[in-house]
Symmetry: C2
Amino acid sequence: MSAKGKGYLAIAADKQRQRQEKIPKEWMIDLPRCIEAGILLQAPVNCGILDETECQITSDHDAISLLEKIKTGIWSAERVTIAFCKRAAIAHQLTNCLTEIFFDEAIDRARQLDRERIDSPDGKALRPLHGLPISLKDSFQVAGKDTSTGLACFVNEPAEENSALAALLLDLGAVLYCKTNLPQTIMTGDSDNNVFGRTLNPHNTALTAGGSTGGEGALIALRGSLLGVGTDIGGSIRVPSLCNGIYGVRGSVGLVPHNGVRDLAVPGTSGVFSAAGPMATSIRDCQMFMKVIMESETWRYDHTVVSVPWRQLEVPKKLRIGLVEDNGIYTPSPPVRRGLNQTAQLLRESGNVEIVPVTVPGVKDIYFDLLQYWAPLGTEHYSELFDRTGEPPVPSVNTIKLLSLGSTTLKGFFDLNVRRDEAAKQYLRLFRDNKIDAILMPVAPHTAVPWDKFSNASYTGLWNYLDYPAVVIPVGKVGEQDLADDISHAKYGPQDAELYKLYTGPELYKDAPIALQVVGYRQTDEALLNTASVLDSIINEKK
Amino acid sequence: MSAKGKGYLAIAADKQRQRQEKIPKEWMIDLPRCIEAGILLQAPVNCGILDETECQITSDHDAISLLEKIKTGIWSAERVTIAFCKRAAIAHQLTNCLTEIFFDEAIDRARQLDRERIDSPDGKALRPLHGLPISLKDSFQVAGKDTSTGLACFVNEPAEENSALAALLLDLGAVLYCKTNLPQTIMTGDSDNNVFGRTLNPHNTALTAGGSTGGEGALIALRGSLLGVGTDIGGSIRVPSLCNGIYGVRGSVGLVPHNGVRDLAVPGTSGVFSAAGPMATSIRDCQMFMKVIMESETWRYDHTVVSVPWRQLEVPKKLRIGLVEDNGIYTPSPPVRRGLNQTAQLLRESGNVEIVPVTVPGVKDIYFDLLQYWAPLGTEHYSELFDRTGEPPVPSVNTIKLLSLGSTTLKGFFDLNVRRDEAAKQYLRLFRDNKIDAILMPVAPHTAVPWDKFSNASYTGLWNYLDYPAVVIPVGKVGEQDLADDISHAKYGPQDAELYKLYTGPELYKDAPIALQVVGYRQTDEALLNTASVLDSIINEKK
């Protein structure tokens, strides 16, 4: 039945037991009590596992301010690392967000870094990420750890070497301590698989934590990590950033080293590429991450990178932002519309932003082609992986109909390129002729939806198709005012109506984060991050 | 027989007559006398068409010093443009290097630019290329002119709009005045086609002018242009730069706008892309061209560009250069070996360069895959274009066996990507672990060869396959000392021996330029141009 002679259930049970053993007994929370107490987001502080300093370390900082504390010696790397290991362990018990746990090695490394600090009392000679705990999506290889990506067939095959990014982050002084959960196939909007199970959304466990980088999303929302790294080939950084109310950046392909990421595509597949990028609790942390990575010599680590140095640009005095209400396929649900309208209003009132309504053309055809780009040879390779241990597809794989995508020919593949070329020409005109610095639009036509209902990525995938950088900014939460309305509001036909009626009002969707994406023109990541920072300061500092 | 109802011979005759009519009668040279006089390179000055100032303008400057003269008002743009139109007309009569001639419009435009100068007496407000005549390979669309690329089926179809680069160069103040010849299919080493005929090598008409940008090569060697633009997907800038003894740069793909170039590939073909780049009489002109282009907002003109700004880098005090003697397939001929050895010697003696012998691994397999990348769907599309007007393949198309390349499948195409990925990893290590700034190696295993004998591009194509930037530097000429030697010197078997014996000694190859290529790591074009400038100053200023 299985290539390994063992079925997936046995493999998963073993793997989960091993994972459980990596959490010290004294860090175990009283889960029923935490759940009973209601709000998961407050559980890490309230569960009694973290001492006061650990609460401070993990609650009151973003990565930039934490790095300052470590570098100036206020807190040791060890103290900080233990705090985040503890909080990650708590977050994991609450949401099932971790896959690989290696707290012991992390704490050892932190101690080593603290010894390095002795030679640099003022912290100035320290490496840029000295002592900062960073979490990684499971698909990043870390030497000695599995890169199972939630597939039973890959369990118990520890990586022989670090992925390029893991190696680079270690050289930059970071502390790696855990990897995080993702969907079977790494292609769905629910971080659920047969090995590790489902990651829950800490804002509302009835809703998806998003995918594919959903483990990061939940972990960072619970501040079990301040800075994590995901990958995005259709929305896999942005969707969980939306669902968990955090910041996330899909940078241009190749800026963040991606080699050594297991992505399950047929080897050599080209056309649309996955991009790695940061997920964090502040926009400036995302910017810092991109800057630090781009200022390091990424080419030494990865033969696939675009190794261009970070450009220090001036922030324009007055921004011109293209406002996209919807993508012409799906009508945003009431809370998303409210989020977009209120944000536009805030920006207009700031006096620093000019809002220009624009539309994104041809998204229906583009999304159709994007599905083909994702799996030009069809999807049998997924089934083949499942069959090795007899595992079935998880529900969300069926939701997106991944296994029924057909294949194309070489000529058909080049025809995709021709159509994309035409689209790229059109989108250049959209940006150039409207003289916009960025586009502001929903990340999806909805917030996080109930489990296994996240059925398409047309709002995010458009930008993977074109390789435009995009940043997710949280702008609010679903509240009492967000009543469901009639499906007659769905403008684009039956499929739209079907999705539209998923939103049933603030009861089921209570506290679901609302977020928007800010999209820049191709390869203008630095300018986009500047723009997004300005927008975020207007949107989130007034609150 | 023909889609146009007209055979290729009639189309070519008409087209050649039209072309001839674009040359003013008073610019016609006494061709038999020039040929009799022997050295074609001296004919432009000796033929009596250019006045003394025109000789000065066209003979004594590179583009940078000429621009200074124009901008400071020493010479008007009109004066300069007329001088280059005349000299291009002469070069054309000597070598058949031009395809489209539009001297009248160029002179009109120059007059217009002279009027603009009135508002900027010191020249400082003028655009970077103000008044500089720039020639373009025929495949660049120029509005109102044919882009026939030497194929009869495309004659008399004037372009409706400028290619991105033509539009950009005009906005930068350049004067476009002619387009230049290339091979049928744009893939061979002989710029010969059924519409315009063959371009001759002005150094030695028994040898090829190279291809595919051979018209530029001959034109610039004769100083009918100081700065031209070619494209290179396997060596098409570098081979004619070698053959004609000029400088040429294949920059990284996407830096110089390429959209609106007719390249005859099946639309949407991806994998290995053509790169546009400068050909010039000095290395600093090449550098200036790349800098000016990269500092302009290329993204506004072309949705396919990599729009990164030029980086001003410091030139390393001591360079470390990897010396590659051969590519493991073909042994360089005696003059090429002499050129490489003498150059290495000069560099060593300079005290500023450390020479490290390195080898380039796996080139045989790489070149095999490159051929497949060039035409993944096979080459029927070429035959289809020929058939439209009944034109036969020119001899050099048969030399490279272009029409017998087979097709592959989508899986086969992705397998090419997998193998290239492995190679890229290896070449990263080659550069990184040897700590080299650049590689110095031959451009081909030979100099320009007799007509229709240029059979492979494995020395140049390696770098297209990997998308590494490469610069050609002329280092000398074949002379009396370059005796042919025994084919036992050919190290790599019968195919090598076959090519090796093409070199028959200094009689047939008299004055053939010898050149080398300097190759940088991926996307480090600025650093490479700095390195190449240092090497060139050592190589060519000692002479």
